[in-house]
Amino acid sequence: MSTQFTFRPRVPVFDANVRVGDLHYQPSPCRNREQLLAEMDRHGVDRALIYHAQTEEVSPIDGNGFLEEWLDSSRLFPQWSITPTPDSLAQVQGLHEEGRVHSVRLHNARKVGLPFRPWACGTMLSWLSEHRIPLWIPLPDADADELAMTLSAFPELVTVLVGAHYSHALWVRPLMTAVPNAYLELSRIEPLGEVEALCEEFGAERFVYGSWYDRLAMGTMLFYLHHTDISESELELICAGNLHRILQGEGRHD
């Protein structure tokens, strides 16, 4: 595919990682659902899994409430945030009873000293595993050893590891090997030749496209994925197929 100054994706795109709403220190460039949909249209993105910025640093419970106004039944799908407290788990369980939970995202409790360990997160992880609900885990907040040890104790749980950066380059392979039900989201995978190398080593079915908009510009990684050595069928899996399968509860490799 020769490069042009105008880029449009040639496969369906379902973005696995879009943030909406304002951070307390950074207003979002998209002020409402219509502006977000316009940005997606500009980049040729069909659908997106969205979470609210307030769930990152303030409150997963309030943030989940703020997410409601952004949802769109045909293009914008909710990703509820969760943390291992009784209130948070009860909120997500209530949403689950309404049939509205297809994935959740881990709120960072490590910054206040609560590690990602079975004694601290076991009740939550058991419930997610039992109900085949996949868990998104942002790697910038994570500890590699905690992830490997804890996820090994919940082998049925499907996880999506989000935002691996070149500073995680030494983690990614051993973690993907140690946790066979883990997928890797690709928004920050920038080491040289890494997309092709990872796909060759683990298979394209272990990867999902995410932009991490509005933390990052939306179109960049889509452009990258369309200019690699991976096959067209692998591109389709990464850009939409794998995510669709994970959200259907069909993400396990067993």
């Binding site: 100054f5 070149y166 990684m221 690699t228 050595d229």
Partner: protein, 249 residues
């Protein structure tokens, strides 16, 4: 080449940075460049304060593919006594064409007098100097204004365009004030709207595409230019037109 526009990557590294899996494998680098139409990458080695060791590595790297890479010289005021002699050797004997500086490796702000022999050298020859710029005090891009005023025949390039919001704004102000200041785009942050901000506020003729290869793959860094909401004419300047003019290549 993209739509007949020669594409030049203004920011690349030779050497290994294994901690981040950054390895200057020429086959991988050329493979990434070829996938997106990058014709030439500018490379330098910043890991050796004597300058000589890294510049020799860069020269050997360029010599393997002289039609695809151009080398920049690196020196450091940590070994100030040899800076000008090494620059002279690197430019005149090794054929390197511009200068890279990395103030965070030193204890001096980039406008302090210890750096001035480098700027005088560049000023006499009309060379470009690319700096790592960011939020740390030694490499704050607002300091480039001082250098640009004192050395008007040299061209000062703010690498990463300051990387984050406050230094980026300072870099833009400096570029608005001085015609010999340019802004280079590579950054792992990839914040939405940054390319548009640089082009709209500093001018498309002052922005240079860079990738940080081999620390980062050049494809996503080019992607943020291609997918930015700017005109095709601006993309042509950013992707190669400005670099060709600045380097005379």
């Amino acid at each position: 080449m993209i739509e007949e526009q020669r594409v030049i990557d203004f920011h690349g590294h030779t050497g290994r940075l294994d901690l981040y899996n950054g390895v200057d494998d020429p086959d991988l680098i050329l493979g990434a460049m070829d996938k997106v139409g990058i014709d030439v990458s500018c490379v330098f080695n910043i890991f050796h304060p004597d300058g000589t060791t890294g510049n020799d590595i860069t020269a050997r790297f360029v010599a393997e593919h002289p039609d695809r890479f151009v080398g920049f010289a690196y020196v450091s005021p940590m070994m100030a006594e040899g800076m000008v002699a090494e620059l002279t050797r690197a430019i005149d004997e090794l054929g390197l064409v511009a200068i890279k500086l990395y103030p965070p490796y030193t204890q001096w702000d980039l406008n302090e007098p210890i750096w001035h022999p480098i700027y005088e050298f560049a000023n006499e020859r009309g060379l470009a100097i690319i700096f790592h710029t960011g939020s740390d005090p030694h490499s704050h891009p607002g300091l480039l204004a001082d250098c640009a005023a004192k050395f008007p025949n040299a061209n000062f390039v703010s690498g990463h365009a300051g990387n984050v919001a406050e230094p980026r704004a300072a870099a833009i102000r400096a570029a608005q004030e001085y015609p010999n200041i340019y802004l280079e785009t590579c950054s792992t942050f990839r914040t939405p709207g940054v390319i548009e901000q640089l082009v709209n506020e500093a001018g498309a003729d002052r922005v240079l595409f860079g990738s940080d290869i081999a620390l980062m793959d050049s494809r996503p860094q080019l992607g943020k230019i291609i997918t930015a909401d700017i005109s095709d004419e601006a993309k042509r300047l950013v992707c190669g037109g400005n670099a060709a003019r600045l380097l005379g290549i």
